[in-house]
């Protein structure tokens, strides 16, 4: 008997009792639905929580400061600085050649004077809006996905751009704008240079007018203006061409204000932080926090998987029950098939394929239903969050591995549930064919 013959026999046998078939498939569908919905929501929520903890950057990102590491640095997620320590190109190269390091992204910070619109002819109060001192943070924006930056509106400046800037909500507060109205406006930025004149310390500015292309939340450095590193480098070069500007505009003590180091994996974060601390630099990463949260998420995953497994187990019992009843009903048919030459394995295959069909149909429908439920949960949660003025969370991502695993898993559960009744059927004596009804 070919596989196709067995499959034909299995599918037709299944639909001989449509009520029982529908109920059995429904049980499998419910099990798969619950499992997929829980897994989908848990996975989305888990990844969003970790993303929140790391401010949108990878959980493996480590922020290194141009400061000496305190003796306690190795034991805490927080920055423990003990005086300045310059970061040089040699430091960058050393880190890039270290094991378990996936990326090394330098950060340049420059003090600036910012003037929101409307613009006058000088850096002075115009229409009641004051010019104010802030910091420009420059970073390689082509590596934005490795950085703790979340775009709240608009976009990031283009890599290498000298006239685009993304601002934080701090600038919006200063300028008295709304998040959306700030986009597309311009801001004047003076990059200062101190010099000695006959009358004492004087300042002059290198003025640039930048377009605000995005609003971000960023933890790369302390400053309201995020720009391409090329722009920050020019500002730094202009500043260091002058003299120390004292408390208002001091000369930078380090070429780089900091570095973002990305470890190869979560398991490597601790080793990379130890190496950085060993080089003497203060650093920070939510290493212990993420590990702790991941442990909690793992517990949640186990609980949810347990609930899903129980649901699938009950569905499996439903399949087994239906097949046991089918074997009881079909004793004579099985006997006849064996009498005309069917082998044990032919009967076994017939019943296992019947179980597989139930698992496949129930698993496919259940997986689809589970994804739809996860999507619905996402919409409901986001509606609530939006109503509460909170940032929304994206749920219900279509995960092909999850879909494949769910359908395959359901089929395997159904087949496993069918093994005992199928074996009983296969072991029936062909004498059943001539037994009294």
């Amino acid at each position: 008997m070919t596989w196709l013959d067995s499959l034909t026999l299995a599918s037709r046998s299944l639909w001989r009792r449509p009520g029982r078939a529908v109920l059995t498939i429904l049980a499998v569908t419910l099990g798969a639905t619950l499992l997929v919905a829980l897994a989908s929501v848990a996975t989305s929520a888990g990844s969003r929580i970790v993303s929140k903890l790391t401010n949108g950057g990878p959980a493996t990102a480590i922020k290194v400061s141009a400061a000496k590491a305190d003796s306690d640095q190795a034991y805490t997620d927080d920055l423990r600085a003990a005086g300045p320590k310059p970061i040089t190109d040699v430091t960058l190269n050393t880190l890039r050649q270290s094991p378990h390091v996936a990326a090394v992204i330098p950060v340049i910070a420059s003090r600036i004077l910012a003037v929101p619109p409307p613009f006058g002819t000088a850096a002075s109060p115009v229409s009641g809006i004051s010019a104010y001192g802030d910091t420009m943070v420059g970073v390689d924006l082509s590596q934005a996905r490795n950085l703790p930056i979340t775009v709240l509106a608009g976009r990031l400046p283009r890599t290498g751009s000298l006239n685009e800037v993304a601002i934080t909500e701090s600038y919006i507060d200063h300028a008295g704008m709304s998040l959306q109205s700030a986009l597309g406006t311009q801001v004047e930025i003076a990059e200062p240079q101190a010099y000695q004149s006959q009358t004492g310390l004087q300042f002059r500015g290198r003025w640039v007018r930048e377009e605000i292309v995005g609003v971000v939340s960023q933890q790369v450095g302390t400053g309201a203006f995020l720009v391409a590193i090329e722009q920050a480098r020019l500002a730094q070069a202009w500043a260091v061409a002058g003299v120390d500007g004292g408390d208002a505009f001091p000369l930078p003590t380090s070429k780089y204000a900091g570095i973002v180091v990305v470890a190869s994996s979560l398991d490597d974060v601790h080793a990379v932080r130890q190496m950085i601390t060993g080089l003497g630099y203060a650093n920070t990463a939510p290493e212990h926090l993420v590990a702790s949260v991941l442990r909690y998420l793992r517990v949640v995953d186990i609980v949810l998987a347990g609930i899903g497994a129980i649901a699938l187990g009950i569905a499996g019992l439903g399949v087994a029950n239906a097949l046991v009843a089918a074997v009881r009903e079909r004793r004579r048919e099985i006997g006849v098939l064996k009498a005309i030459g069917a082998r044990d394995r032919d009967i076994l295959r017939w019943f296992l394929l019947e179980a597989f069909t139930v698992g496949l149909v129930g698993g496919a429908i259940g997986t689809l239903a589970g994804l739809l439920i996860a999507l619905w949960v996402g919409v409901s949660v986001n509606t609530y969050l939006t109503e509460q003025g909170l940032q929304s969370i994206q749920f219900g991502d279509v995960s092909w591995p999850l879909i494949g695993t769910a359908i395959l898993g359901t089929c395997l559960v159904a087949i496993a549930a069918g093994v005992v009744p199928a074996w009983q059927a296969a072991r029936l004596s062909p004498k059943e064919a001539v037994a009294a009804a």
Binding site: M1, T2, D5, T8, L9, R12, S13, R16, R332, E333, V336, L337, K338, A339, I340, G341, A342, R343, D344, D346, S429, P430, K431, A433, V434, A437
Partner: protein, 244 residues
């Protein structure tokens, strides 16, 4: 092929021997005893049965209910093994065959016809025949299903399921299914038991025609004396013993 038991020597059978390609299997039973358990007690279904059925013979087995007719049919058909004695069908010593060898024996040598027809309700008449062919793994035999249906006069009912056929038609489909693997022995267990008189005669005529044309051995178990009288040889079982 080594035949056990004497060939038929009557004129009619000699004549048939010259027409058909081969003769069916001879059946040889020596001291066959078989019992089964019913609760704690042991029930003897057959006791020291001695029986010779010639190759190509047409034999009727009669007896009251519980006489052991179906048990004997099961043993000869390889549905179970006798507990003692010698049972040979053609060149097969059935006591020596393992379970999978018995399945092969049934598939390649035996055509079963049951009182309850034994057709699968979920398959059409054609598919029932094809399924039996599929068990032998022969695509050629599978393609013979329409020819066999034509042979039993049911080609126009090929796509009908058993529930849509009359009792006589179902039994004719069962005969076509029994023939698809070209058996050397046809075992019919009360083939007319569920049929009206007309249908019963048509089924018997068909069985006898098949027996004559194909040369296979035909063993019919029946309560019906009229049916038994049509056989070349008749044996009677009572309380598990073959009566002289």
């Amino acid at each position: 092929m080594r035949l056990i038991g004497p060939r038929l020597t009557q004129g009619r059978n000699v004549a048939r021997e010259t027409k058909v390609a081969r003769l069916g299997s001879a059946i040889h039973l020596r001291g066959v005893t078989h019992w089964y358990r019913s609760g704690r007690s042991r029930v003897e279904a057959l006791h020291d049965v001695e029986l010779e059925i010639p190759a190509g013979g047409y034999v009727a087995l009669t007896g009251p209910s519980g006489a052991g007719k179906s048990t004997l049919l099961s043993l000869i058909g390889g549905l179970e093994r006798p507990q003692s004695g010698v049972l040979a069908v053609g060149q097969h010593d059935l006591r020596a065959l393992r379970a999978d060898e018995l399945a092969t024996y049934r598939r390649t040598n035996i055509g079963f016809i049951f009182q309850h027809f034994g057709l699968l309700d979920l398959l059409s008449a054609r598919e029932n025949i094809e399924l039996a062919a599929a068990l032998s793994g022969s695509p050629t035999r599978r393609r013979q299903a329409p020819d066999l249906l034509e042979e039993v006069g049911l080609l126009d009912r090929a796509e009908h399921r058993p529930g849509e056929l009359s009792g006589g038609e179902r039994q004719r489909v069962a005969i076509a299914r029994a023939l698809v693997n070209d058996p050397s022995l046809i075992l019919a267990d009360e083939p007319t038991g569920n049929l009206d008189a007309d249908s019963a005669m048509r089924v018997l005529d068909l069985l006898e025609r098949v027996h004559l044309e194909r040369g296979c051995t035909l063993l019919v178990v029946t309560h019906n004396e009229a049916v038994a009288r049509r056989a070349e040889q008749r044996f009677r079982l009572d309380a598990g013993r073959l009566l002289p």
